[in-house]
């Protein structure tokens, strides 16, 4: 190879630069004409400029259909980070389209979709609860098969940075198991430690003059 592996060298062509990157040695150089052709077909179908050619064999048609879905989903993860995309997701969130947190003390807090990776095919979509700040698997099998990359890792953080008023006031409740009326020793000890951590964090936030009051988004109740 005559090029710097880091790909930092200035190159005139994107494809050349991409192929020159370390790890991309297996890729061949695609004819730009083919790329343009292929993508135009997909974009035209997605935007209803044209439909999938009926005369094509079934297998080919299904392949194009799958490519359309994949392209749409990839663009989706970028779109929902734009102002317009965020406002559309706002509607869906306030309608609880993504379901509710199953945790008892989250009291049916609406959820948001999140990916554990931005690279497709690595993991399925998860649901983020802004009350307990934890992630859950979707209840239905249909949703649990969706690729997480179609929503991305940054979406919930972007969403709540855009709409901070939607951040819930966190419930302070923690479940403490009891057996015949008594606390269970081991778990009670861990619970006390967690409450101690909670206390420390609240003190720290207060010392920085952060409002964590009962009616503040991000506060405690």
């Amino acid at each position: 190879m005559d090029k710097d592996d880091s790909g930092s060298d200035y190159t005139e062509y994107w494809i050349d630069w991409f192929l020159g990157m370390k790890g991309n040695e297996y890729f061949c150089d695609i004819d730009p004409e083919y790329i343009r052709d292929r993508l135009t077909t997909l974009i035209d179908i997605i935007t209803d400029v044209s439909v999938i050619d009926d005369s094509l064999p079934e297998k080919k048609r299904r392949e194009i259909e799958d490519d359309c879905k994949f392209l749409y989903s990839l663009i989706h993860s970028r779109y929902i980070l734009t102002i317009k995309g965020l406002s559309q997701m706002y509607e869906k969130y306030t309608d609880s389209d993504f379901g509710y947190c199953p945790r008892e003390f989250c009291r049916l807090q609406p959820l948001l979709p999140v990916g554990l990776s931005d690279i497709p095919n690595l993991s399925t979509v998860k649901l983020y609860c802004p009350n307990c700040e934890d992630i859950y698997n979707p209840k239905s099998v249909r949703h649990s098969r969706l690729d997480g990359a179609f929503f991305g890792t940054s979406f919930p953080a972007m969403f709540f940075q855009t709409y901070p008023e939607l951040i819930p006031t966190h419930s302070l409740n923690i479940y403490t198991p009891k057996m015949f009326g008594f606390h269970v020793h081991q778990s009670a000890q861990l619970t006390r430690w967690r409450l101690f951590q909670r206390e420390k964090q609240m003190k720290e936030l207060e010392s920085q003059d952060i409002d964590i009051g009962t009616s503040t988004p991000g506060g405690y109740k």
């Binding site: 003390f105 700040e133 698997n137 409740n173 198991p177 009891k178 006390r192 991000g218």
Partner: protein, 257 residues
């Protein structure tokens, strides 16, 4: 107790019992939405000691008990009281059930369901599909419906299906799930295999600043000690929550309910 009558009517029902007639308990446990219930043995119900105190909670107690045990009553039941007796029978069965599942055969029967994940799996991603157990937050009837306890995150959840949203939590009770975990070491072993992970929300790969409203505020909920200083802190939590040095007197309560 009218033991004689029970024996008599039992014999009678055995003689006249047709093949298609299903025992009340079996039928009840097979009903839609009743999947969490195990069948309580007649033996357990016939022991008066196991029913102590229930007659004062359940209206039409005698009639309800006879219905559960499929005894043919030697008294007349007014047709207008039948719906109430049906309701009483379900209430009585639930309360007996809560006691039965604390016994050895009851725990065994529940274990059979647990192994088949009849109570569902924890939806929390970092619990890695841990099997759940039914739990009531109250032992008194009529306060709250059944919840599910996860031995991994030590938290409680709503059942995934609405068909369980009318099952009283008291029919499983506050102590069963914890006792169950203590009885079967295998569960703790399974929990120990699950990595103790906490989810961090990120924006373009960066953690959110602590002081931002959307920053982490709930880490403590799922936290485990990760270094020796925190381990030492945990040791100090054996009997009480340590007081923060800066505070004169902070009264920290266990925030349940």
């Amino acid at each position: 107790m009218t033991t004689n009558r029970i024996v008599e009517s039992d014999q009678m029902s055995q003689e006249s019992g047709s093949d298609e007639e299903q025992p009340w308990i079996q039928e009840y446990c097979m009903m839609f939405g009743h999947e969490y219930f195990v069948e309580v043995s007649n033996e357990f119900i016939e022991d008066d000691f196991n029913l102590t105190g229930l007659s004062s909670i359940v209206p039409f107690y005698r009639e309800a008990l006879d219905m559960i045990l499929d005894y043919q009553p030697d008294y007349q039941i007014k047709s207008e009281s039948l719906p109430i007796i049906h309701h009483s029978a379900e209430l009585l069965y639930g309360l007996i059930h809560a006691r039965y599942i604390l016994t050895k055969p009851g725990l065994q029967a529940m274990a059979g369901k647990y192994e088949k994940a009849v109570f569902g799996t924890c939806l929390r991603v970092h619990c890695e599909g841990m099997y759940l157990l039914p739990i009531g937050r109250y032992d008194q009837v009529g306060i709250e419906t059944v919840r599910l306890y996860c031995p991994s995150c030590n938290d409680i959840y709503l059942p995934s299906s609405s068909k369980y949203l009318h099952i009283d939590g008291a029919f499983f009770g506050t102590s069963f799930a914890i006792l169950f975990v203590n009885m079967f070491n295998e569960i703790q072993r399974r929990v120990n295999l699950i990595p103790k992970q906490i989810f961090d929300l990120k924006l373009f790969g960066f953690k959110i600043n602590k002081i931002a409203p959307s920053g982490p505020r709930m880490k403590w909920l799922r936290q485990y000690p990760t270094n020796s200083a925190e381990e030492e802190e945990l040791q100090r939590c054996k009997f009480e929550i340590p007081t923060l040095e800066t505070e004169s007197e902070t009264d920290v309560k266990m925030g349940s309910d």
